[in-house]
Symmetry: C2
Subunit: 353 residues, 2 copies
Amino acid sequence: MPQKVRIALDAMGGDFGPSVVVPGAAIALGRHPDAEFLLFGDSASIEEELAAHAALRKSARVIHTDVAVAMHDKPSVALRRGRYKSSMWQAIEAVKKGDADVAVSAGNTGALMAMARFCLRTLPGIDRPAIAATWPTMRGDSVVLDLGATIGGDAHHLKALAVMGAAMASVLFDLERPTVGLLNIGVEEIKGGEEIREAAELLRAMDSRRFEFIGFVEGDGIGKGAADVIVSEGFSGNIALKAAEGTARQLSEYLRAAMSRTWRSKIGYLFARDAFKALKEKMDPNKSNGGVFLGLNGIVVKSHGGTSADGFAYAVDVGYDMVRYDLLTKINQTLNREAGALVSTPPAQEAVS
Amino acid sequence: MPQKVRIALDAMGGDFGPSVVVPGAAIALGRHPDAEFLLFGDSASIEEELAAHAALRKSARVIHTDVAVAMHDKPSVALRRGRYKSSMWQAIEAVKKGDADVAVSAGNTGALMAMARFCLRTLPGIDRPAIAATWPTMRGDSVVLDLGATIGGDAHHLKALAVMGAAMASVLFDLERPTVGLLNIGVEEIKGGEEIREAAELLRAMDSRRFEFIGFVEGDGIGKGAADVIVSEGFSGNIALKAAEGTARQLSEYLRAAMSRTWRSKIGYLFARDAFKALKEKMDPNKSNGGVFLGLNGIVVKSHGGTSADGFAYAVDVGYDMVRYDLLTKINQTLNREAGALVSTPPAQEAVS
């Protein structure tokens, strides 16, 4: 484990670039004084932002780049234009060269995934990377993956996701043997696609000491905290995440409207203001910001593109934790240990290529 | 259109059988005095419940059956044991024979779908049925399908779903040309599986006068009301529904906990009680109860198995509306009109077989 945690930031990523990334890094530095930052991007804009953050200025190095990947560039276009010279690429490359321990970007997901794969390559035994994130549940947090890196995939792909997700849950939540569930549309054995039923058999047969496979979990089981790790191919995983986010936003909106409807409800709101503040904090989508790319020779964290400085800081926190708790080593150990079980498989269709 | 709306009920379906189905029917009858009921199941238990509901007693006929499909019977087992003689089968068969206009059951989904397919058969041009339901959004309700009848499926299957969902939205919401969106994990053309991109091309080329195809919708677009009809294959559709339901339950729980945390929040709750009541009503999952089986020669509505009498009544309402607004004719008209476009396709993998 390094003395300092060295974090490479794509300062041009996201809807707001340095004006969110730099203050976000400053907030994260306040929580992790042993962090160091490499800021890649337009040095003039970065320095301008840094002027307001003296502590960060001291713990950061700025590396100028001329090229920034646009939020709506197709991955292939981003790779062609941005390889080697963009802030996104160079942040990832810093991880590859060993100059940084983790890269964080709020840039476009497809481009970031394409560059990360191209630059860092997948781990031995892993064909396709995944995006994992924490999901707040009634029982605490769970790790959910894949949130959209790879569409579809066979039973072996789902098994690899289980292995990587379990490693992430064990380092994040300090669990010796996290529980793992497969996302499915029914708990009965008869339901679900062929590959999901086969994956269940593989995971049961594996009988891993690193995690406990508990079977199928339905969509409403995620929020219940039915398992520490929820495994799904990327399409359904992304749909689940977005549907849940949409519902949370919708209900917050209903609540806001209800509380400002009458003078009685307005008074009620004043009395219960602290309770609402705590509730809002609990429902804060920023706190779940930070998707971790798993399956690569290095750690890359994706922040929401439209997030605030607070939200970006949470994504930096995730990156920091992954380094501090040595996620990559842990994943590699599990993969090596289960090497016989993870055979190479025909490539799944990919979301971002 | 019939003078009376004749509704066949599987009185033994659901976790509670006649003790929920009968009072549920009584509530629905209160709202729709022109409804008539056929109650299939154990006549002694049904009559016992009917004793407390004089109005329903007068508008209902009880048909005794000895066999009830259990909530956890596999579809194949249910078909073998329950064909012809179960309350579920006979309720569906009443539709086939023309004795009823719609069948409603809270019994197990897989068995109900298997029996409905076997008994009613699919409409010409439809290979696989779908389950559709209304989803409360920020803009009113939307129709979402398929919620789990068929896993996967090609572009033609998705297109058939769009046609049927649009017909349902136009009768339910009285829209001349409802908007239709395809559920996808990104709005950019590059994302999503092959079949979804192909379906988008088909729907665009179709340029139907019956609906307006608006392109892709992400998971969080459903709750925003991005389209009147959201189309997805059954696995992702089910995951989206359950993830949203789970999130709604989770947030209600947070809210409840927040409001009883301190004396201030309790006072606040008392002041805002009416607002909370309205909110609770708005979030009531019972109100979205009632999944409509589409693509069959007859209408079957599935209620949640664990619902209350109020919830079951909502499912009966859905069945009533489908008959009153002549859903089946409307779907058939659209299918006939678009017959050239809906070619028969290789069967998709099925969830319930």
